[in-house]
């Protein structure tokens, strides 16, 4: 096979779960909610998709249960951070921690002490197609009336409330969508790449998705470019290995994070975050 094609395929395959989760987080953040439990929602999506696909034998059913797994985590976040008005950053961090525990226990319960060398039915390009369609949908959505209101809620809860927009409803809805997409991202990781579940298998991808939202400047096209860029940098190691360049492979594993950091530094993006991001209602 053509190495360039291989490289591109690898880049897109790595980018897809990140893109799904980042699109969801972007919508959530546009409503003014900083949900750091994406990592947990992705992990819940991983387990739920493994269970769903294993039980039904259908990877598509697994994608659906994965999305619901993410939704479950987002719902808890919504209740505590939005309804309960507890600090969003802390709740997000705590939920990620809790999800690691719950998924670990649940996996052990479902598949025994040994775990299961699961080989799940897989999907290859379906999630990528879904992600692509979502980029278009979200771009259009943001320009619609609903999108205008969503952005208004994220920019100024006070102003939005003054004209009668139900701020908490929009925020809860955006958080729920964020959870669904993070769960779908997790499901993609299991059913599109790895083919099984392992404890802590997301390994920080949820946090990468948050960085991608920032790098993509809270815009669907930007988020897509950032995700694909991240995927390409990660795929680079395979390409270099194929060519046989002898550098410590860890350098390649570091590269995406270092480039992300450099990109943040280079953008001067600070002014573009939704103005009410992360602030609870008073």
């Amino acid at each position: 096979m053509d190495p360039t094609v291989d490289f591109l395929a690898a880049a897109i395959r790595i980018a897809t779960p990140l893109l799904l989760a980042a699109l969801g987080e972007m919508l959530t953040e546009r409503s003014g909610v900083l949900n750091l439990s994406v990592e947990g929602a992705m992990l819940a999506g991983c387990l739920a998709s493994a269970l769903g696909a294993h039980w039904s034998g259908s990877p598509y059913f697994g994608l659906a249960t994965g999305a619901l797994g993410g939704l479950a985590v987002a719902t808890v976040f919504s209740l505590v951070a939005i309804r309960g008005r507890v600090d969003q950053v802390i709740v997000g961090t705590a939920l990620t921690l809790g999800t690691i525990g719950v998924t670990g226990l649940w996996y052990r319960w479902a598949f025994g002490a040994e775990g299961l060398g699961l080989t799940l039915p897989t999907v290859v390009w379906t999630p990528t197609v879904i992600a692509g369609a979502l980029v278009v949908t979200v771009s259009v959505l943001l320009r619609s009336t609903i999108g205008l209101r969503l952005r208004a809620v994220g920019e100024s809860a006070v102003a939005a409330r003054a004209i009668g927009i139900g701020v908490e409803r929009y925020r809860a809805a955006a958080t729920a969508v964020g959870g669904l997409l993070a769960g779908l991202g997790g499901a993609t990781l299991v059913l599109g790449q790895v083919g099984t579940f392992a404890e802590r298998m997301t390994a920080g991808r949820g946090f990468i998705a948050i960085a991608i939202v920032v790098l993509g400047r809270w815009h669907p096209i930007g988020v897509m470019l950032a995700a694909v860029g991240f995927g390409a940098l990660t795929a680079l190691q395979f390409a270099f290995q194929a060519v046989g360049i002898a550098l410590p492979y860890q350098l390649f594993l570091m590269l995406p994070y270092l480039v992300a950091l450099a990109a943040l530094a280079g953008f001067g993006w600070r002014a573009r975050a939704p103005a009410d991001l992360g602030r609870s209602l008073s």
Binding site: R143, S144, T145, L148, R149, R151, A152, E155, S156, V158, A159, A162, I163, G164, A275
Partner: protein
């Protein structure tokens, strides 16, 4: 005649605080009805009830004679009521068009563009407000007067012909205020109804047909403008007489120099400027918070009274004592080397609480538990405790009511009479003119001396010349 909007026997309590007590109020079509009163008198609460932002404990609202359950702003807007809030509600990163779409409820709504015909009073007002406004400009880039017009357009976006305006002139220049008041008049003449909340009696007497005065949640005076006088209304607002300030006592020693701006020890100099003409940088440079232009000087120690008391002047969550130490954490009275003696600082704060008659339970309570007027007194106590040579005050009466404003100017004058050089700015030209010994105009970052014989109109022209919008 049926009132366009009427509130009957409205009461509202927040905890033990009775914000509104059996208040009735009505505005008819063709009428501008001014609602005046001190802070906390209940003006804003009353309008928020009328607009559905606060449910009343008792009483009802009628619109065009029909009892209406105004349970949300959505209902109020559907019934033809529009409100302009005291603070800007446009979203800075949205364009003018997007802000109007948002207010109108859908993307692409015609209110996002100037009206095509001038058939109705609403269209006529909208056309006038649109003049010079770019629908694709981001709201945060607009000058203050254009932002204020955008607020009005937002209120009108759903076709409102009953307008509730909360302090719409607070940040405008004299000429802009006149233009706005004229628009409101002609809107009312054309069949609209306007409720104007203001603490500027000059605005009220220039435009209102009727005046209602609220004090402590009750209506204390109500009548046609032609039957009332300004002192009468002021007395009703405050509920008593106001004592005159001490006399000026300039000594000649120049403490502040910045081009044509010179402030001597013992005098109060006012800076007249429209919002956004560089007053922020000027004052902060002279206060030592930003770099100064060459040749400028202001004699240390300088005390600065920032424009935003609650976010810049004080730390709301800190106690009174901690706020005293803030900015004075090398003061020998309560520090030894790096150590802070909190007991000693607290004793000093206790002394200041007595001297400035601050209504606070103890020096340990957080500043956030104090009223706006008492917070301002804490700031003053801090300043007095630091024995400054120069005091620089940036819009020091912002958010203060009539009585507290008068007291604040007395305090500034008292400081000046002890040999301090006082420099202050307010966006309200009348306030600057009536409380300073001399006035300097700041326009586009440039200081312009004002003749001592200049009239109010002349100063107003100097402030606005060349400023667009």
């Amino acid at each position: 005649m049926t009132a366009a909007l009427a509130l009957h026997g409205v009461s509202k309590a927040f905890g033990t605080n009775r914000a509104l007590n059996d208040v009735s109020f009505a505005v008819g079509r063709g009428e501008v009805h001014a609602l005046v009163g001190e802070n906390g008198a209940g003006k804003s609460t009353l309008m928020r009830v009328a607009f559905g932002l606060i449910p009343p404990d008792a009483g009802e609202v009628t619109i065009d004679g029909n009892a209406a359950r105004v349970e949300s702003p959505r209902v109020a807007r559907a019934a033809g009521v529009g409100m302009v809030h005291q603070h800007f509600t446009s979203i800075g990163s949205f364009t003018v068009e997007e802000n109007l779409w948002l207010a109108a409820g859908r993307v692409g709504h015609p209110s996002g563009r100037p009206p095509i015909s001038n058939a109705t009073a609403v269209d006529e007002l909208r056309a006038a407000l649109w003049r010079g406004l770019d629908r694709t400009a981001a709201a945060e880039t607009l000058p203050v007067s254009a932002k204020q017009r955008l607020e009005l357009l937002q209120a009108l976006a759903t076709g409102a012909d009953i307008l509730l305006l909360d302090e719409p002139t607070a940040l405008l220049a004299p000429a802009e205020i006149e233009a706005l008041l004229a628009l409101l008049r002609s809107f009312a003449r054309g069949g609209g109804a306007v409720v104007l909340i203001s603490h500027k009696l000059s605005d009220v007497f220039a435009v209102a047909d009727r005046i209602t005065v609220l004090r402590r949640g009750r209506v204390v005076l109500e009548g046609r403008r032609s039957e009332l006088t300004s002192p009468e209304v002021a007395a009703a607002m405050v509920g008593g007489e106001i004592e005159p300030p001490p006399a000026p006592a300039a000594t000649g020693a120049v403490r502040i120099e910045a081009g044509p701006l010179r402030v001597q020890a013992g005098e109060v100099v006012g800076i007249a400027a429209i919002e956004g003409n560089g007053q922020r940088s000027l004052l902060r440079a002279l206060a030592g918070l930003e770099p100064m232009a060459s040749g400028w000087r202001s004699e240390a120690p300088v005390a600065f009274l920032p424009g935003d008391r609650t976010t810049e002047g004080l730390i709301a969550g800190f106690s009174l004592t901690e706020n005293l130490v803030l900015g004075h954490d090398r003061d020998a009275r309560w520090t030894r080397g790096p150590w802070i003696d909190w007991g000693e600082a607290e004793r000093w704060m206790g002394v200041l609480i007595d001297r400035f008659e601050i209504k606070a339970g103890s020096p340990r309570v957080p500043v956030s538990s104090l009223s706006g007027g008492n917070q301002q007194k804490v700031l003053f106590a801090k300043i007095a405790a630091s024995s400054p040579a120069v005091v620089i005050a940036e819009n020091p009466t912002r958010g203060l009511d009539f009585k507290a404003t008068v007291e604040l100017h007395h305090e500034l004058r008292r400081l000046a009479s002890t040999g301090v050089a006082v420099l202050f700015h307010s966006p309200d030209l009348d306030e600057v003119l009536s409380h300073s010994d001399r006035v300097v105009v700041l326009r586009g970052g440039e200081l312009l001396p004002v003749r001592s014989t200049a009239t109010r109109a002349e100063v107003g022209t100097m402030m606005a010349a060349g400023v667009g919008g």
